[in-house]
């Protein structure tokens, strides 16, 4: 075991980690927007909205993430054109990975949002409506602020899962942390040190996420 290799090549792992972070942030952004929309659709009064979001959930929770990633990267370009993932900012594979992860986590975040809203006591809605507030005002001023507190811990959990799942995108050639660790391991035939190196970086990243979540939770608990 030659740990000096790690000191010599840690910058390649960090380059990979940078792409991991970029993909995580991108996927979280997409997942939260999509998940909020789908979560609200799940409890909408219009049954067609509930149905659409229900089917979406079934599909994305019912198939493997790795398949979804590969599907977007390999199966879509022949249909929609080989350049669909081309962009001036990040490698094609990384963009396909972000979209796949975002679409997938959107399904899980939708359930978190739905249960967060439905977990607020029905008496809160009744009190607000009895005072003459409209449905929209009730959601915005009374239900959402309370739901927000409830969804922070499960959302943080989902973000950590998402961060780790970016490693799956290495399968389509995005040069993120996992990809770099494997490539270096193969090059020097020294997997142990590079895998340990990557594991340490993943751990540090998730640790920071957990600390941020704990901080937000504590802040919200003060005024509760």
């Amino acid at each position: 075991m030659d740990f000096s290799l790690l000191l010599k090549h840690y910058d390649l792992l960090l380059t990979g980690a940078k792409l991991t972070v970029v993909m995580t942030v991108g996927a979280i952004t997409l997942g939260v927007i999509l998940g909020t929309l789908l979560g609200l659709m799940r409890i909408a009064r219009l049954s067609i909205l509930r149905a659409v979001s229900g089917v979406y959930l079934q599909i994305f929770r019912g198939t493997p993430m790795l398949l979804q990633i590969a599907f977007l990267y390999f199966a879509l370009p022949p249909i929609f054109g080989s350049g669909i993932w081309k962009n001036p900012f990040i490698p094609d594979a990384a963009l396909a990975g972000i979209v796949a992860l975002g679409l997938n986590s959107g399904a899980y975040i939708a359930e978190i949002i739905r249960s967060g809203i439905q977990g607020v006591d029905i008496g809160q809605t009744e009190a607000a409506r009895a005072l003459g507030l409209s449905h929209l005002q009730t959601m915005q001023l009374v239900i959402m602020p309370q739901a927000f507190r409830r969804v922070i811990p499960p959302l943080c959990n989902e973000f950590i899962v998402l961060l780790k799942d970016t490693s799956l995108v290495s399968a389509i050639g995005a040069k993120e942390l996992m990809y770099q660790a494997r490539a270096m391991g193969a090059k020097y035939y020294e997997y142990f040190v590079f895998m340990v190196g990557a594991a340490i970086i993943y751990f540090c990243l998730t640790f920071v996420l957990t600390q941020i979540s704990n901080y937000i939770e504590r802040r919200l608990a003060v005024s509760d």
Binding site: A130, G132, L133, S223, D224
Partner: protein
């Protein structure tokens, strides 16, 4: 003030209200008593459309609130409601709980809403609790804040849904005192309650409900001393 005609309500196959007719005059206090499951709360909740009746009409000041085409939100604001479980908004201070609806529904300015909030808090004896959060208050104090919150909207009538049933016995008195004060000031009140002593002292009229119908009604001295209906007698024997 409020008139109810031929009200029916089903929950699925469960026929909860079976034809209710009721009138509450302006400035009067009506107490609704009866065993649990008799439809008392459902009747109350139909009066501000928290439940939509399947049949029948509810008129407030001559306006049929069950008819189509009304702005239900505006009508609801005319009937202040106090719940068994208080239902204060836990993420807001007492002051914000009270000013929210006047500002958002009545479009009162913040300064004016806060002035009114301090007035209604004084009426329920909790002026110093304005900056507190609900969970820092006792159950009795929370319910008094809930009453203040309803008062701030200056509704035409008040609906009380078992306002003391979730309270520790030693906290019931302070809530009933506030309600007695409101009754003395000529507030129109419909009160679903298990507090028979309160009904005796304060009600102008007592209604006994059982099985989704009004079995008997009249002034409290008659209902409590000479009930005519056998079920009223049986119920009063159990609770008094």
């Amino acid at each position: 003030m409020i008139k109810v005609y031929g009200l029916h309500k089903y929950f699925g196959k469960n026929h909860v209200l079976r034809g209710i007719d009721l009138e509450v005059a302006k400035g009067s206090v009506v107490c609704i008593i009866g065993p649990s499951g008799s439809g008392k709360s459902t009747l109350l909740r139909c009066m501000n459309l928290l439940e939509t009746p399947n049949e029948g009409q509810v008129l407030i000041d001559g306006v049929d609130i069950t008819a189509a085409g009304h702005n239900i939100d505006e009508l609801r604001a005319e009937a202040g409601m106090v719940f068994q479980r208080f239902n204060l908004f836990p993420h807001m201070t007492v002051l914000d709980n009270i000013t929210l609806a006047p500002m958002k529904v009545r479009k009162v300015s913040q300064a004016e809403a806060e002035k009114q909030a301090h007035e209604v808090l004084r009426r329920v004896g909790l002026e110093e609790k304005a900056p507190a959060y609900p969970k820092q208050l006792s159950g009795g104090q929370q319910q008094r804040v809930a009453i203040a919150r309803a008062l701030a909207m200056k509704p035409k009538l008040f609906l009380f849904d078992e306002p003391t049933s979730a309270l520790d016995p030693e906290l019931v008195g302070e809530v009933l005192d506030v309600m007695k004060g409101m009754a003395l000031e000529g507030t129109t009140m419909v009160v679903v309650t298990h507090e028979m002593q309160f009904a005796k002292e304060v009600a102008d009229r007592v209604i006994f409900m059982d099985g989704g119908v009004i079995m008997e009604e009249g002034p409290p001295e008659l209902i409590f001393s000479q009930p005519q209906n056998d079920r009223t007698k049986a119920f009063l024997d159990r609770v008094l």
